[in-house]
Symmetry: C2
Subunit: 365 residues, 2 copies
């Protein structure tokens, strides 16, 4: 292989692709990136056997070829090289890089031994704006279970029905649902995608005006843009019938500034560490939302902010982490906190986004 | 105690003082900050038994008093509170804070149990500009030994002679010396101060126009500004007679841009991890400095930059970490690399700072 490209393009591609590489694998080749010429471009591939990525950059190709290279050394090297034209050449199992006053040789492994990233044969399911997809992932993924002990809950439910793409995540203590309206969608399909995979995808999606094509088969999903194909395995199993836990009504609703609510929860939760983050929320008809820490050996704290309140006074106990998680991810402005007594789930919504809902189970006081 | 102050002043003081607090102590009170009224100001104190600090802020004091408070909770709380006036009140062993919509109570421990930070009775030794002191600490401290197995080398030699304050650090593989000229100094004194203490002091020194008064006795040193007193224990022992290892002459000198030299060393050192960072430096009469990695299972690398060279060609092996350490700390512009054959120490200096010298022992090729 003999080729040249711009350092800045290769650096971007390597930094994205090398994130997918296994860091604690037993198979050496999984810590490598596959570098290959591909129809006048350079293709970089990596896989950790759950996610696979192909990322393409413009290049001048003089001679075709491919090799796998240790991801960490390669990404560190490329990031340190100066901007501008970079010559790449593969001889035997060594990649030579040359630019200006810098010459390096990295020993690789044969491209033949690199695991294939499987292709999806189904036809395209939907096309979605990358910034809408990124936002939806960020609005739900934090509500998924962090560990793999219940794989279904460590996934994001991805459902396509006429005119809509719906993303849902729940760890059984709280639930987030985001609907993306999409006129072109007709098929009805669903799948559970590992939250880790979608969070990784959200990090890569950056061009707000880009289209993302979605492909799905029984075991895999692929997100495709002009620059990359991102493939993830699916989670087997059945997602909980979540619709039933979303309250359809409320007895008390407080409307308050997200920034103010965040501040009082942050202060009061400092005193709730010993009680697993539990704090009491008082919604008061007179126009206040108050947060009170549970008793602690270190002390106690209470704070309030102004709110527009409909309905009767209520006192309810939540895990402050679950409140802060959603506040840290939704946009600024007014939010609604809706509650029906101390035993039923609370709901956080935004008037400015009717397609998003966040449900939190209360704790027993 | 009853007092009020500005959140922004208290927050700055707490964030500085809480850095000194022991994080893994056995004595609970060492994880606390002492808060006390002091002549119409508030004084915050912390100590880890090696360093002690008193930091004072302006306050309105209605009633005197003192208490120790858990440093972590207190600093997190104060940092989350809104800017502006903050009321503080101590009742029994509880500190109450109140500002706007926020009220908290932190349980503390009696101030009587807090370890005294010893006073120095000697008279003032020197007064030095804070930015000069900070720069000098940063120019030498990285050359000290990182662990305490040889306490003398984990310290910075601090020597005062007529007209000069000299700071020196060495881990026996490299050495850094910085001289601060100071007309007012007359006494001759020296001490070894833990490098960790001086690095902590450098972080706190921020106002470039501030005066720092220095006090020294047989076991302690104190740095005093308008805002704080920073006390550190001294290291017992004798600092090595370092003057003899500073070469007085050179056979080859290369003058080159720090930024260019840094880049080539960074790239080449990526390939030298298995050989403990060793890289070969070739200084060439024709006007080049070349860096070459030692052989590695992952590959090899070489790079060069242009230089003005006096004297004959030389090839010498250094630990790249020791070169990068000094390059990361000295200012931009031209540097001199002076060498006398492959077996003698190399020297890095700057024409723009005749009062600084960095010496590196070569490795055997």
């Amino acid at each position: 292989m003999k080729s040249s490209c711009l350092q800045e393009n290769l650096n971007k591609a390597v930094s994205i692709v090398s994130r997918i590489v296994s860091t604690r694998g037993t198979l050496e080749i999984l810590s490598h990136i596959l570098l290959a010429t591909d129809n006048g471009r350079l293709n970089l591939s990596a896989t950790n056997l759950e996610i696979g990525i192909n990322y393409k950059i413009g290049a001048k190709v003089e001679k075709e070829g491919s090799l796998t290279i240790p991801a960490r050394l390669f990404s560190e090297l490329i990031s340190q090289l100066p901007e501008g034209k970079l010559d790449l050449e593969i001889k035997d199992e060594t990649l030579m890089t040359k630019t200006g006053h810098y010459e390096s040789q990295i020993k690789g492994l044969s491209a033949e031994d690199f695991p294939l990233i499987p292709k999806i044969k189904e036809k395209k399911l939907a096309t979605i704006n990358s910034s809408e997809l990124k936002e939806a992932i960020n609005l739900v993924s934090f509500a998924s279970a962090p560990d793999e002990s219940r794989p279904v809950l460590a996934g994001i439910y991805f459902k396509i029905i006429k005119g809509k793409i719906i993303l849902v995540a729940t760890d059984s203590y709280r639930l987030a649902e985001k609907v993306i309206k999409n006129k072109d969608v007709n098929l009805e399909k669903d799948a559970i995608i590992p939250a880790r995979s979608l969070m990784e995808l959200a990090r890569i999606l950056e061009d707000p005006e880009e289209n993302v094509n979605i492909y799905l088969d029984d075991t895999q999903v692929m997100f495709e843009t002009n620059d990359f194909e991102f493939t993830s395995r699916l989670v087997e199993g059945k997602f909980p019938d979540y619709k039933q836990i979303i309250p359809s009504d409320y007895e008390t609703r407080a409307t308050l500034l997200k920034s103010e609510f965040t501040k009082i929860i942050k202060v009061v939760s400092l005193f709730s560490r010993e009680s697993a983050g539990s704090i009491t929320i008082n919604i008061k008809q007179k126009g206040e939302v108050e947060a009170i820490s549970s008793g602690s050996q270190y002390g106690e704290s209470n704070a309030f902010c102004e709110a527009r309140v409909e309905g009767k006074d209520v006192e309810i106990v939540f895990n402050s982490k679950y409140i802060l998680d959603v506040l840290n991810n939704i946009s600024d402005g007014d939010i609604n906190l809706s509650v029906s007594g101390k035993l039923n789930p609370g709901v956080i919504t935004k008037d400015s986004d009717k397609d998003y809902i966040y449900v939190i189970m209360p704790l027993r006081a």
